[in-house]
């Protein structure tokens, strides 16, 4: 599967998005601001995560009319979110022709046991993960890009840091194990042995590894990139801040110059108030989005 033309094309687009910022947008105006600021792609959704958190209710795939307007307006790739396990929302988005589908824990799950069988689609998928087992299960299902889940809509980077560190640490651990130990590890991770062996041999995921969930500042973006993320998704962090336009530009700059403190200082200067953050440790378990997905 991993060498098929189909999968190479899916991973190929993810390669093109590296070093960039994928921004959540809910309408055409926001999509235009994002593109102008230098976003490498936009993610169309009904409501940004912090509003989903506040307003509650069932959160679904975005309005087709709005996604189509966004596709007609910007020249960068357009992604859209489908509910976990909602393989028909995904089929509709594929028919619409979006460039990537995010099977996302930010929306209300449609299936509490199964994810979408992503191999059967022509359109590529990205999925969230908190640890290596979850990442490899999603890849086994056909995901061509992994992102940390973090805690969407919190404006708090702590969960994304936890998730990227966990994934990187678990991958490093595999590289020092013997063949027979990998079988046991595959069982512990709940992931196919073939993928566990691939990671052990290469020390990385077989697909690009991005970060999402709680990124609100240029420094946050640089932090997760330093920890091993190859690009970032920013959700509520931009359009829930005081200054979406300049903040979007600053985070784009930070994703490129994550290794250059002077450029990061330039990016951080003259920014207004970031979005108001949440202390994730005080959130009740039932309000966490990251625990959705199996």
């Amino acid at each position: 599967m991993y060498l098929s033309d189909d999968f190479r094309l899916k991973v190929g687009l993810a390669e093109m998005l590296k070093g960039g910022v994928i921004m959540d947008v809910t309408n055409v105006e926001q999509a235009k601001i994002a593109e102008k600021a230098g976003a490498s792609a936009v993610m169309a959704l009904e409501r940004v995560p912090s509003d989903i958190r506040k307003e509650g209710g069932v959160s679904r795939m975005a309005s087709i009319k709005i996604i189509r307007q966004i596709m007609d307006t910007v020249s960068i790739p357009v992604m859209a979110k489908a509910r976990i396990g909602h393989f028909m929302e995904a089929r509709i988005l594929e028919a619409l022709g979006v460039d990537y589908i995010d099977e996302s824990e930010v929306l209300t799950p449609a299936d509490e046991e199964h994810h979408i069988d992503k191999k059967t689609y022509k359109v590529p998928f990205v999925c969230g993960a908190r640890n290596l087992g979850e990442a490899l299960r999603r890849i086994a299902e056909g995901a061509a890009m992994i992102r940390t889940k973090g805690e969407a809509g919190s404006g708090n980077i702590v969960e994304a840091v936890r998730h990227i560190r966990t994934i990187v640490k678990e991958m490093k651990h595999l590289t020092i194990l013997g063949k027979e130990e990998l079988v046991h590890e595959a069982k512990n991770l709940g992931a196919p042995l073939e993928l566990v062996e691939w990671v052990a041999a290469n020390g990385k995921l077989p697909v690009p590894n991005f970060s999402a969930g709680g990124i609100a500042t240029p420094a946050d973006a640089a932090l997760v990139m330093q920890l091993g993320a190859e690009a970032v998704f920013v959700g509520s962090g931009i359009f829930k801040s005081e200054d979406p336009d300049s903040r979007a530009r600053a985070i784009v700059k930070a994703a490129t110059y994550y290794n250059d403190p002077v450029k990061l200082l330039e990016a951080s200067e003259e920014l207004g108030e970031a979005m108001r953050g949440l202390d994730v440790s005080k959130l009740p378990e039932s309000e966490l989005l990251q625990t959705r997905g199996w």
């Binding site: 033309d5 190479r8 093109m16 998005l17 960039g20 230098g38 490498s40 994703a255």
Partner: protein, 186 residues
């Protein structure tokens, strides 16, 4: 060994790094004008041309890049080809005008229309990965078409510079990168 800079503002610069190594060059990432000093040639990778344009602009890299190109070879793939073109449409956007071609962005469709195919390069065939690829609508009289796909030019060389609308960095075949490396020695 020749040092190839890879513009690492955004895009698949990491895939180019590996491709340069396979072809026998030494890759370095380029994010500032100063990084260019060490380079014998420069690759502008695939990615999003609007993002790269934005960063070239705010980091004042356009002029240093032009000066570099006046002396040394530059190779653009996909978004890189768009940046190097004479003019760009759909939408119209600025470009560096290093190679006399006109291109139309995303001319073959969206991601679901992306494909891997064989293209004709003289007597040889090459595997070519097209991802939301641009189309070369016109090649100036100084340009040499090195490969075509369904009649469209997909690999064009003009003097020391060259562009492909496909992604040779996403295959194991090093011939395109090797040709670029050869341009550095002559």
């Amino acid at each position: 060994m020749k040092t190839i800079g890879i513009l690492a503002l955004q895009g698949d610069f990491d895939a180019h790094r590996k491709a340069v190594e396979r072809a026998g060059g030494r890759p370095v990432e380029v994010r500032t004008a100063k990084d260019l000093d060490a380079c014998d040639g420069l690759i502008v990778p695939g990615g999003e041309s609007t993002t790269m344009l934005k960063l070239l602009d705010i980091e004042n890299l356009t002029e240093p890049l032009r000066q570099f190109a006046a002396r040394k070879p530059v190779f653009g793939t996909c978004a890189g080809a768009i940046l190097l073109a004479h003019s760009v449409t759909k939408p119209a956007q600025p470009s560096l005008n290093l190679i006399d071609i006109d291109v139309e962005r995303n001319a073959y469709g969206r991601q679901i229309d992306s494909r891997i195919t064989r293209v004709q390069a003289g007597d040889d065939e090459l595997e070519a990965v097209f991802i939301r690829a641009p189309k070369i609508l016109r090649v100036g009289s100084g340009g040499k078409i090195l490969a075509t796909c369904d009649g469209d030019p997909v690999w064009v060389e003009q003097g020391r510079h060259m562009v492909t609308t496909f992604h040779p960095e996403l295959t194991q075949d090093s011939r395109v990168h090797q040709r670029f490396l050869e341009k550095l020695t002559t």
